[in-house]
Amino acid sequence: MHERIREKLNILADSAKYDVSCSSSGSDRKNTNKGLGDASASGICHTYTEDGRCVSLLKILLTNHCIFDCAYCVSRKSNDIKRAAFTVQEVVDLTIGFYRRNYIEGLFLSSGIFKDADTTMERLVRVAKKLRLEHNFNGYIHLKTIPGASNELMQEAGLYADRLSVNIELPTERGLKLLAPDKTFSSMEKPMNFISHTITALDDTRKKMLHTPKFAPAGQSTQVIVGATDESDLEIILTADKFYRGFNLKRVYYSGYVPVLSDNRLPSLNAQVPLLRENRLYQADWLMRFYRFGAHEILEDHHPNLELDIDPKFGWALRNLHLFPLDINKAELEMVLRIPGIGVKSAHKIIAARKFGRLGWENLRKLGVSLNRARYFIVCKDPALETREYSPETIRHMVLSGGKSKFSKLWGVQTSLFG
């Protein structure tokens, strides 16, 4: 008995691990009636895997039986692997047992499509419903919505889950045609659209009525695989931008393609995971969400890929040197956020601290500003550190030779992936 459950957990956690989302934040579900759990706090990573990713949720598939044949997926039907399936009760027991021991913030349940969309979705919903209603569980639940499932099931899923997600996986329609012939963009956008509309509609009702049921209070997210097809970074961030605006998504996750299958449509099995490119995409994503950048400021049609050796904000600043240097004691928050080497927190601290007196280099350094980059773009109370006018190439060279990037050993390897 114990051996069987161990085997199932190993198989179904192993096939779920390529979904990178592990976020447990953004919900407002509080503990009620002395029940178990509280998802109202910000997310907690309870441990980290040896690859350095946060473990916050029990992330498993209900089953890895699947009728689809997506080339990038380990669970595709033509792949000869061990198959397993949990019962609803087994998932519930594992979640509660792990949660009570403070191993996890909650459950992230996904599934292979084992019969049809509705049957699969119904089973996922049943797990969430049981946890909420029979066990008074107020921890975090993230359910994968199965494209093609009925609106009624999706509606029910949103009542019990904190977050819902549909993984688009491939950022372009042509990529989808090539690698996931069973899926289309529109079949995946439909549930996103439904969720987004339901959330907005309930928010409007909430303004008038006190007791409006919760519906996916932590919103929805999606994931795109990077580097499985030939899409450009511009195509990826435009897709992300469309989701953020069009469907009010909380997060778009970028997952560097890990070669798991041999298929002539895919990069070879010994191709490296594009970790650096993935990192740069996240930086670009952050620029859109927290630094008020538009997608077309980060990349342009004649410049469609992120540079690997410098971060996208630094790249933008080098292309727009005419806007600098800024006076750090006067510049608006909007512009302070755009200075390379200054993060959101430092930007706010600068705005707060300069009310007490003008800031100098030492103040900025202590506030956490990376002067290595920022020095070329600002003036402050003290004499300038850089008095000459440099060309973008010179600044780039000086910054790169002054600091050591943790990724420097990867340069050159990834650019040649499709070369």
């Binding site: 503990n31 002395k34 690859d51 792990f98 403070n102 007490f356």
Partner: protein, 253 residues
Amino acid sequence: MIWLIYDGSFEGLLTLVFETFEFKWKEVRIRKKGALVPQLFAEVREVVTDEKKALRVWRKLVELLRPDGVRTLWKAWLSEMETVEESILGVINYAIALDRNVLADFGNLHVLNIQKTVKSVEREKHRMEAFVRFQLTKDDIYFSVISPDFNVLPLVLKHFENRYADQRWFIFDTRRNYGIYYDLEKAEFIDFVANELLSSNLVSPDAFGNGECLYQTLWKDYFQSTNITARKNTKLHVQHVPKRYWKYLVEKS
């Protein structure tokens, strides 16, 4: 230079602040009772905790720094760092001199020092909320042993009380020899733990209840299965889970 000794309570520190103004002491060093103080040539005074004096300072601070500003000072104090009291006094003197809330003045050294300390304390609090591992004992108590760098138990009480309202739990700090026990009604500080529950500062396997071993095995299995070997990054792993916490983590032991 005067060395001021107080009893190690926050009221004691507030009393001490009161007396620095009362007696117009300017250059002071502050230590908790029992800490090392240079004997030769030093003028040492012991401050006796006085609730009335402490309360007056408290009220003044709430007025100047707002309640969350006073909480900031208290959190910094929980770090138990050797010279934290001197930074706290520095901030108070500065706020009184300017007659305004100065906690956002990151250009001031004392403020910066306090804010940095608070950041460390909050990081440790967050780590405890993450790394506490409960082990179910035979008498149905979810039990955990920790030894945090700072005295963060007072900061995590609410978190665990809100979360585990339907199970009895006990978190014990072996470094400071006290813990929090929740008995399904309320969470309370307790400075005693039954000996048979512990073996070499960990929960003794002899005390495990039904199913505990299975869940630990399943959790270890899960930790391995969810790892992607092709992305191995030991440096990042250790940065997020520093080695000094491994001894309490089921998945790392």
